[in-house]
């Protein structure tokens, strides 16, 4: 006993505007949240890259020191 509603397209009279507003608020909240998380993720990735570079730099320094020691 399914009843299919008439006209799936949003009617442009007043009721439609309110319903649209409510659903838009919902979507906007989700998107804002995702955007904030994206910013945080970028910051974490930058931190990770920094860490990787620091570790690589330290490895390089240690390698240099070893070379120096062998000569001495």
């Amino acid at each position: 006993m399914t009843v299919f509603a008439v006209a799936p397209a949003l009617p442009l009279h007043t009721a439609g505007k309110y319903v649209a507003a409510a659903y838009i608020v919902f979507v906007v909240l989700i998107l804002v949240y995702v955007a904030i998380m994206a910013v945080r993720l970028r910051r974490t990735e930058r931190g990770l890259a920094q860490l990787r570079d620091e570790v690589a730099a330290r490895e390089a320094d240690r390698a240099d020191e070893r070379d120096l020691e062998e000569v001495a």
Binding site: M1, T2, V3, F4, A5, V6, P8, P11, T14, A15, G16, Y18, V19, A21, A22, Y23, V25, F26, L29, I30, Y33, M37, R40, L41, T44, G47, L48, L51, E54, V55
Partner: protein
């Protein structure tokens, strides 16, 4: 600890699918309400948001109980994220409720709707959660006090709804639900799927936020282990047990 991201993709797909199905049902399947007409469609986004946010607050209280009993700060993190997420959902619920009130009765707020009023009071209470947390500097104490707050507030949620409803006994409350008693089956199905979709959305975002926090935490630990204590800048506002 990064087990939070396990299963996250599957959960997200389920969430997207359910919400898409719910939207399709709302606009293509559910019949028009006899009294309110097209405006009633807001019901399918407002009520699930409200229900899920309230459950989220109670869940935050339960996680807080776990933290107080075990002392494990991870419970506190779960509690914090649950409450934080519920607060956002509550803002959504209040705005959609207000839009529904305006569409139904002509003004943006309606004092004689006990559910909406109780909801506002709960929002006012939980809005103090973050100011409280971040005004306590010691992280251990911050977590403990936040948990105490979460437990008290979580118990307050049902009490508040009962008290407000009892106080409206004599006045005929205007209630934002469907007049005419029981929902027909098609509306019930649509509502159920919408509720499931929003609940899944909550779970997904909760996991997502915890995964992000826990990753950040591990990065800090790694920095500290590899580069020494000075390389790690102190956290500003954060609930993570650094």
């Amino acid at each position: 600890m990064s087990s939070y991201s396990r299963g996250l993709r599957g959960l997200t797909i389920a969430t997207v699918a359910t919400i898409a199905a719910a939207l399709a049902l709302v606009f293509f399947y559910a019949p028009l309400d006899a009294d309110q007409g097209f405006i009633q469609k807001i019901f399918y986004v407002h009520v699930p948001l409200a229900i899920v946010s309230l459950c989220g607050f109670v869940l935050g209280g339960l996680f807080a109980v776990g933290h107080l009993r075990t002392g494990d700060r991870r419970w506190d993190m779960r509690s914090y994220v649950a409450i934080h997420m519920s607060l956002i959902f509550t803002v959504g619920g209040l705005i959609t409720g207000s839009i529904w009130a305006k569409a139904s009765w002509g003004h943006w707020w309606e004092w004689s709707d006990p559910t909406l009023v109780s909801y506002l009071i709960v929002f006012l209470l939980y809005a103090t959660y973050q100011p409280l947390r971040f005004s306590i500097e010691d992280p251990e104490r911050q977590a403990r006090y936040a948990s105490v707050f979460a437990v008290v507030a979580g118990a307050f949620v049902p009490m508040n709804f009962i008290a407000v409803r009892l106080s409206q006994g004599f006045v005929h409350p205007r209630v934002l639900t469907l007049t005419g008693g029981r929902l027909p089956g098609s509306m019930q199905l649509t509502f159920g799927i919408s509720l499931l979709g929003i609940a899944l959305l909550f779970a997904t975002l909760w996991k997502y936020e915890l995964a992000a926090k826990s990753t950040r935490m591990q990065l800090r630990r790694l920095r500290r282990a590899v580069l020494g204590e000075d390389a790690v800048r102190p956290l500003g506002r954060s609930a993570a047990p650094s």
